[in-house]
């Protein structure tokens, strides 16, 4: 369970930046907290957010010149500007070095391959590329959100299997491409980023012939210097997108996996719905209907006796009344199994209490989630608990049980429903039982479902139900 949450958390924090999305605004998972890289910060952004109160046409977004100056020069004192410049500088130097080291290593391996020995070094060679790429992915955090690793193929069996696997893995060759391209891309990006700085310096300290140094040059330099860090950040964003494109996760593969997963879940839900309907039909036909027919028999027999043997008729009518009570009680159970009215009226806590109220063994309910839950979450939780409790009473021979509902901090935020009993265990979700329906139901809302029920018991069922299901979010069994 915990691992699932961690996986989800990793994915959620992970960047979703693909090659088609070079604009930094779409990169951060929570743009409200961290302003998008490179976007102008401060008053213009604020002004842009309240167009209704602004008159039409151009409006000066600053209240004073000091405000304007503060906005223009602020990037100069922001650490991210200098971090970006540092990143680009390191990249410009390290890119060619990395390439050179990798090129020499590759040349050695290829050369040795002619006498066979080199093939033994294919795996370490790719490991070298992988290490370089790992460093660059982590270094990219200087200039943007973390980049998750693109999935590598699973290792084949044996050394040769691994060697063949390395050579066939498109992600590995992407890494090779990254190292090769970085030899050029690193210096070029730094050159582009350095250009505005160099222009500012030219104005300030001479070298631009027709204007020269002096007061005028200094003034122009002072006016222009606000643009330089902005350009640096823009270039850094390009660098980040470059690293992400080569080394970031394959969005298509992730989505394809997600689609497959959703299709499976949909089928499971359909099956679960089908199973539920069948169960309801059986409860109606084999339960209530039989009781009503038996009741009708009593009434018919009473009617036949009413003149000759009124006492017998009275006794039969008493039996009939008992059968009416039993039938009504059963209808109530069936209805509550479909959807408990108390869930709407009083919330999950009250509904769960009513589930265990009729239990012949003590089953405690503790719910630490105070607030009202979304309807689908509450219904799913209720369904899981009522099924699990029914199983406990029907199959487990338990002496005591417990139901607990608590929060999972997330992300994603979720509730955890734990049902425990001390019965003889042996519940198996893969066999046709209520468990399969429960699993389908929980996984259908992107939750996770786990049963621990060794023979001899005890049985613990844990369902984690996220507070908001999201079709694009990787689920627990995701790619």
């Amino acid at each position: 369970m915990g691992t699932l949450i961690e996986q989800d958390a990793g994915r959620d924090d992970g960047p979703v930046t693909g090659p088609a999305e070079p604009t930094p605004a779409g990169r951060g998972p929570e743009p409200r907290e961290a302003p998008p890289w490179g976007a102008p910060t401060g008053p213009p952004a604020d002004a842009a957010r309240r167009p209704p109160v602004q008159p039409a046409g151009f409006t000066w977004p600053f209240e004073s010149v000091a405000d304007a100056a503060e906005w223009w020069y602020r990037p100069l004192i922001e650490s991210r500007s200098w971090l970006a410049l540092a990143h680009l500088f390191v990249f410009a130097v390290w890119g060619p070095v990395m390439f050179a080291v990798a090129a020499v290593a590759t040349a050695i391996v290829v050369g040795l391959s002619f006498i066979g020995v080199g093939l033994l070094l294919v795996v370490p060679l790719f490991a070298l590329f992988d290490a370089f790429c790992r460093v660059e992915r982590h270094r990219a955090e200087w200039i943007g959100p973390p980049i998750a690793a693109r999935a590598l193929d699973a290792d084949g069996g044996g050394y040769w299997g691994r060697t063949r696997g390395r050579l066939a893995d498109a992600t590995r060759w992407r890494q090779v491409g990254f190292v090769a391209a970085s030899c050029v891309v690193g210096p070029v990006l730094f050159a582009v980023a350095a250009l505005p700085w160099s222009i500012v310096f030219q104005f300030a300290f001479g070298g631009v012939g027709w204007f020269g140094a002096g007061l005028g040059g200094l003034v122009i330099a002072a006016l222009l210097v606000g643009a330089a860090p902005r350009a640096t950040i823009a270039v850094a964003n390009v660098a980040h997108a470059y690293v992400s494109w080569f080394l970031g996760p394959d969005e298509n593969a992730r989505l394809a996996g997600r689609v497959e997963e959703l299709a499976t879940q949909r089928q499971q839900i359909l099956d679960a719905v089908d199973g539920e309907r069948r169960r309801i039909e059986r409860n109606l036909h084999d339960g209530v209907q039989q009781q009503l027919v038996a009741l009708g028999i009593d009434v018919a027999r009473a009617r036949a006796r009413i003149d000759d043997d009124p006492d017998a008729a009275r006794a039969l009518l008493d039996e009939a009344r008992d059968k009416v009570r039993a039938a009504v009680g059963e209808l109530r159970l069936i209805g509550r199994g479909l959807h408990p009215a108390v869930l709407d009226d009083r919330g999950l806590d009250a509904a769960l209490s009513s589930v265990v109220a009729d239990s012949p063994i003590p089953i405690s309910v503790s719910m630490t989630v105070e607030r009202r839950l979304p309807d689908d979450v509450a219904t799913t939780a209720y369904y899981v608990v009522s099924e699990a409790v029914a199983n406990i009473l029907k199959h487990s021979h338990a002496r005591v049980g417990s139901v607990r509902v608590d929060d999972v901090a997330g992300p994603p935020r979720a509730i955890r429903v734990t049902i425990h009993d001390d019965g003889h265990g042996g519940a198996d979700a893969s066999r046709g039982s209520g468990l399969a329906g429960m699993r389908a139901r929980v996984e259908g809302v992107d939750g996770s479902f786990r049963v621990a029920s060794p023979p001899g018991g005890p049985t613990t069922i844990v369902a984690v139900i996220p507070l908001a299901a999201d079709a694009s979010r990787p689920g627990p069994g995701g790619a």
Binding site: D286, Q291, A294, R301
Partner: protein, 222 residues
């Protein structure tokens, strides 16, 4: 129709409540219930042991709760043709009816469970089936009448003739039909004669062969 002095019956139903009700109902009517059991295997054993006149069988019984009753009924039909079988079902299922009634409809019945409550009709159906007649639930007949592809031919029947056709399909004898519709036996015979002529059916003497003819006619979807 011959009526044995004391009918001997076995009742198979997994709902204890309903089984007891049916048993008491039969006993009230002077029918001797020699065994009351809860599943198909026990039913076959009881039939082999007691050789009753009639077996009253619930369709859904353990272990699978699907059509055990139908299968047990067919098994009884082939192993002990002299034992009549009346199948009770929670709902109308044409397939069950056709499975049961294809071939020999003598001593076979298929009724909805709720019919039990109309005690006199139910006991009459029990005695009819036990005596080698047949009993087909009115709902099944109505379904067949409503869904048959022979709508145009049925349209040629008068409402009364349609009614008579339905009762024939249910397995009622001429006198049974006369009683139900509160008309004279002669009037029934005239209606039946008209129905057979209009639909081109063979004139059958025995009620159960008539049932078969009518059901075959209705069930024919060609």
């Amino acid at each position: 129709m011959r009526e044995p002095v004391v009918l001997r019956a076995v009742v198979a139903d997994d709902s204890v409540l309903l089984r007891d009700g049916v048993v008491r109902l039969l006993e009230d009517a002077g029918i001797d219930v020699v065994a009351a059991i809860g599943d198909g295997d026990a039913l076959l054993a009881a039939v082999a042991e007691h050789r009753p006149d009639l077996a009253i069988v619930d369709v859904r019984m353990p272990p699978t709760h699907t059509d055990e009753g139908i299968r047990a009924a067919l098994a009884i039909r082939s192993a002990h043709p002299e034992v009549a079988v009346l199948v009770l079902s929670q709902y109308v299922e044409e397939r069950y009816a056709t499975d049961l009634l294809s071939g020999n409809t003598s001593g076979v019945g298929y009724l909805l469970k709720d019919r039990v409550v109309d005690v006199e009709d139910f006991i009459a159906a029990v005695r009819r089936v036990a005596a080698g007649g047949s009993a087909v639930d009115a709902d099944v007949v109505a379904q067949l009448l409503g869904r048959t592809s022979r709508g145009t031919e049925l349209d040629r029947l008068t409402p009364r003739e349609r009614e008579v056709l339905g009762l024939m399909a249910e397995g009622l004898s001429n006198s049974g039909i006369a009683e139900r519709l509160v008309i004279s036996l002669g009037a029934v015979e005239k209606h039946i004669s008209n129905v057979f002529t209009k639909l081109g059916l063979d004139r059958e003497e025995h009620a159960h062969r008539r049932v078969l003819a009518v059901l075959t006619y209705l069930g024919d979807r060609s």
